[in-house]
């Protein structure tokens, strides 16, 4: 007990110094911390959304949606490939999407082999190592060919769509000018968006939830309005709800052009009314020019996410590759649409399945309440320890404060996020950190009662209590680890603090107090101990 190896003393001192160094950046402003020279710890403790205020939004894509979109493009590709097949067009009939695959019947039985070859040439390998292809081509009967996207291909497609969706959302949120948004994929079909300190969460949701698929389609003027009202349209046309004037509009299925070729879009005014201007890239501009030239005098519909936002007449060919969209816009909604069009469409439809928004007032209140509770809890527990264990109580209080410092240091160094449950975890750690000291002190009391000498009692006390302390803390760590695995957001924060607190408290409560006790024993050589 008396001999405390020199290296151990140094290790303890160095640990404490390191803890101080890692805690210090928290007392600087963000700018000051960022200005620190390289090599100096500058990581600050992150505050969770529940403490600083902000929005947490969980979005989910429907894989069926990806499959549907894939089948639609595949149908179009198959059509083109059959027309432009090697050795002349292949006549076909009944090309349709059915049961998750695109199928068609080859008119001349002699063309079947060529059709299958053409389709097979479309397939691409999925990933770099696997032998899987993204589509499977089969003969349903002697003349019917089916082209089915494979499961691996669809998974790959979903994966790419989600990665792209993250990028699109990032662009949209950047437009809002908020700082430090967190946008991460979660699992296969989910995206978590966290934006701190937002004044207007509705604007955020309006931006990230919309697909923003823009299409220009010709209005089918020959369609029967009565049938359209029932939702029925002639072949090659479709019924689309009209956001502008209410009711529905029948448009051609094939789009003249889509928003994919847009390179810019800005909110603007025409005759004092908010409109949205747009500009195509050179290829899109040419297509737009050609389409408008061919259809002068006819009405066309501008469709956003399956809703007509306006259906103007093409008065003259639009050759410059740019134009404006009129609709029932307000200044805000025109700005919103411009942002959506600029940042591109989401490759897959996303729905909000969870949203948590905390106002900045509540966050500030929570921090204040948490800080007061932490400080007072520490003081009360310290007082209780001192009146219960006297000198040894003072040692455990020193350990308690060091523990608080270490928890902060480790969390700062890891760049961990402090949440409100995290603060609760901290307060709990304060109550629990003294447990190790209680175990040791009680054991020393027992040994003293048996009439053993001071040094021997202390020695036995530390030795016997250590095993119990280890066992008892392992169970806490098990609980904390499970919490970290299964918990979401704030609970994870709680588990992190708890785990760090448990580990550091064993160090401070056992090792550090032991050093203090050994110093005392060496300098005073006490014959009796009041405990």
């Amino acid at each position: 007990m008396l001999d405390f190896p020199r290296w151990k003393v140094w290790a303890i001192v160095l640990t404490i110094l390191a803890a101080i160094v890692f805690t210090l950046p928290n007392f600087l402003s963000e700018e000051q911390a960022a200005a620190l020279p390289k090599g100096v710890p500058s990581q600050q403790l992150n505050l969770g959304l529940d403490l600083r205020g902000g929005s947490h939004i969980l979005l989910e894509a429907d894989p069926a949606d990806v499959r549907k979109a894939r089948l639609e493009t595949l149908e179009e590709t198959v059509r083109q490939e059959l027309r432009g097949a090697n050795g002349g067009p292949i006549p076909y009939q009944d090309l349709s999407v059915r049961d998750g695959s695109v199928s068609f019947t080859v008119r001349n039985p002699g063309d079947v082999d060529r059709a299958v070859e053409t389709m097979r040439a479309l397939s691409r390998p999925v990933g770099q190592l696997s032998a899987q292809r993204d589509i499977e081509v089969n003969l349903a009967d002697s003349t019917r060919v089916s082209v089915r996207p494979s499961a691996a291909g669809l998974a790959d497609e979903t994966d790419k769509a989600m990665a792209q969706a993250v990028e699109v959302i990032r662009r949209r949120i950047d437009e809002l000018g908020t700082r430090e948004p967190t946008i991460i994929r979660q699992g296969e079909t989910r995206i978590v968006v966290q934006v701190p300190g937002l004044q207007n969460p509705e604007a955020l949701k309006a931006l990230i939830g919309k697909t923003a698929k823009l299409e220009f389609k010709l209005v089918d003027v020959d369609a029967d309005p009565a049938l359209a009202a029932e939702g029925r349209a002639p072949p090659g046309s479709q019924v689309v709800p009209n956001a502008e004037g209410g009711g529905v509009l029948v448009v051609k299925r094939r789009a003249l052009i889509t928003g994919d070729q847009l390179i810019d879009s800005q909110p603007s005014y025409q005759d004092g009314i908010p409109v949205v201007s747009f500009r195509f890239d050179s290829v899109g501009g040419k297509r737009f020019a050609k389409a408008t030239q061919e259809n002068v005098g006819k009405p066309f519909a501008i469709i956003l996410d399956g809703q007509v936002i306006s259906a103007p007449r093409i008065n003259e060919p639009i050759l410059g590759g740019s134009g404006i969209i009129q609709g029932n816009f307000t200044t805000e909604s025109s700005n919103e649409l411009a942002i959506l069009l600029r940042s591109g469409k989401l490759p897959v439809e996303l729905t909000v399945i969870e949203e948590r928004t905390v106002g900045p007032d509540l966050g500030a209140d929570s921090i204040r309440a948490g800080a007061i509770a932490s400080v007072l809890a520490t003081l009360f527990v310290a007082l209780f320890m001192i009146i219960t264990y006297g000198r040894f109580g003072v040692y455990s209080v020193v350990a308690l404060f060091l523990n608080a410092l270490l928890v902060f240091a480790v969390m700062s160094a890891l760049g961990a996020t402090l949440t409100l449950p995290g603060i609760a975890g901290f307060v709990l750690t304060i109550g629990a950190a003294v447990d190790a000291n209680v175990l040791i002190n009680e054991r020393i009391r027992e040994e003293l009662r048996k009439g053993r000498a001071v040094v021997a009692s202390i020695e036995t006390g530390y030795k016997e209590a250590s095993r119990t302390i280890f066992d008892a803390n392992v169970t806490n760590v098990i609980a904390a680890v499970i919490m970290f695995w299964f918990g979401s957001g704030p609970i994870k924060g709680f588990a992190v603090v708890l785990t760090i607190g448990i580990v550091t408290s064993v160090f401070t409560a056992v090792t550090v107090t032991r050093l203090l006790v050994s110093w005392w024993l060496q300098s005073k050589r006490p014959q009796a101990l009041l405990l």
């Binding site: 969870e354 309440a369 709990l428 009391r445 392992v474 806490n476 708890l498």
Partner: protein, 325 residues
């Protein structure tokens, strides 16, 4: 200077004498808790029930009945209102409207406008919406986490001690968790993700207590091989009693501070934890220890620690057989 001693030295309280009464009481409480949870149910927050939740802060203590009328007049379904931590803060829960996010936004705006019209001072501090899909996942994950934590810890104890200790610990845990759930069913305090975190922590800390007692039982079983099991258990509990009480009080001091000063969001969490500490302390004395007796733990359950020779196990077995004859 005299130090505070909450527990006098060398107590000899016959805890085990009350084991039947304690066990009867505990089983009664467990059954009662399960019945309460089954009949009254837990007041699930949006995390688990799904739906929409708003936290509103007023300048004056809120009149819940008036406010309920106001909320219901927004036409978004029947609101479930309760004060939240303090009388000025109210949480309003509403079912999720069918449709997409725009529909949710409409409901939120409508309710907020109605409340604002009557109470210009109202502050909307928090809005949460959780879809049914997510809430089901949260329920599943929460239940799984609790079950896994209990099982994992019991298995750890089984490895470190003997199987009887693992079973005892598991039963003590089931006791603690059941009673905590029963408390939430009784008081209808909101049961959300934070409470699950609290219960997981209770699982960890209640075990902390049990382990300290078990550790001493193991030590004493090795030391006093001639002593009767009831005596050993009593001795062990008495020897660790001071520590049990001091630690529990220090935890209660910390948690009590949190209950009073921790703010509205942490209130349920702190109350659950505080209760858990009390139940956990009780269960490690009155549940964890007696079970060992019923499961037939005896000094022969442990290989003598002083003998390192390979025949120790055999000798212990022989000794056990001799004891039976």
């Amino acid at each position: 200077m005299r130090l505070l001693k909450l527990i006098p030295d060398n107590t000899n309280i016959p805890f085990l004498k009350w084991r039947n009464i304690a066990m009867g009481l505990s089983i009664l409480l467990i059954v009662g808790s399960i019945a309460l949870v089954a009949i009254r149910g837990l007041n699930f927050g949006v995390d688990f029930a799904g739906g929409l939740m708003m936290e509103v802060r007023f300048e004056k203590p809120a009149q819940l009945d008036d406010l309920r009328t106001t909320v219901n007049s927004a036409g978004a379904g029947a609101g479930n209102l309760q004060t939240f931590g303090d009388p000025r803060t109210v949480s309003i829960r509403l079912p999720l409207p069918p449709g997409d996010d725009a529909a949710v936004q409409k409901v939120v705006s409508a309710v907020q406008a109605k409340i604002k019209a009557d109470n210009p001072d109202a502050q909307f501090r928090r809005v949460e919406t959780v879809s049914g899909k997510v809430s089901n996942e949260l329920i599943r994950d929460g239940a799984l986490a609790m079950a896994l934590a209990m099982l994992g810890i019991s298995i750890y104890i089984w490895f470190r001690f003997e199987w009887q200790f693992g079973v005892g610990a598991l039963f003590a845990l089931i006791h603690d968790v059941a009673l905590t759930l029963g408390f939430f069913a009784l008081t209808q305090l909101e049961f959300d993700l934070n409470i699950v975190a609290a219960i997981l922590t209770i699982i960890g800390y209640s075990l902390n207590d049990t382990i300290v007692v078990y550790d001493r039982i193991r030590e004493n079983l090795r030391k006093y091989r001639k002593m009767g099991i009831e005596e050993v258990l009593n001795l062990s509990i008495n020897e660790t009693l001071s520590r049990t009480i001091v630690t529990s009080i220090s935890m209660m001091i910390a948690l009590g501070t949190l209950v009073v000063l921790g703010g509205s969001v942490l209130f349920g969490f702190s109350v659950a934890m505080l209760l858990g500490i009390v139940i956990g302390t009780y269960s490690s004395i009155f549940i964890g220890a007696p079970i060992l007796m019923w499961l037939g733990v005896s000094p022969q359950s442990f290989v003598p620690s002083d003998a390192n020779d390979p025949d120790a196990k055999l000798k212990a077995k022989l000794a056990a057989e001799r004891g039976q004859v």
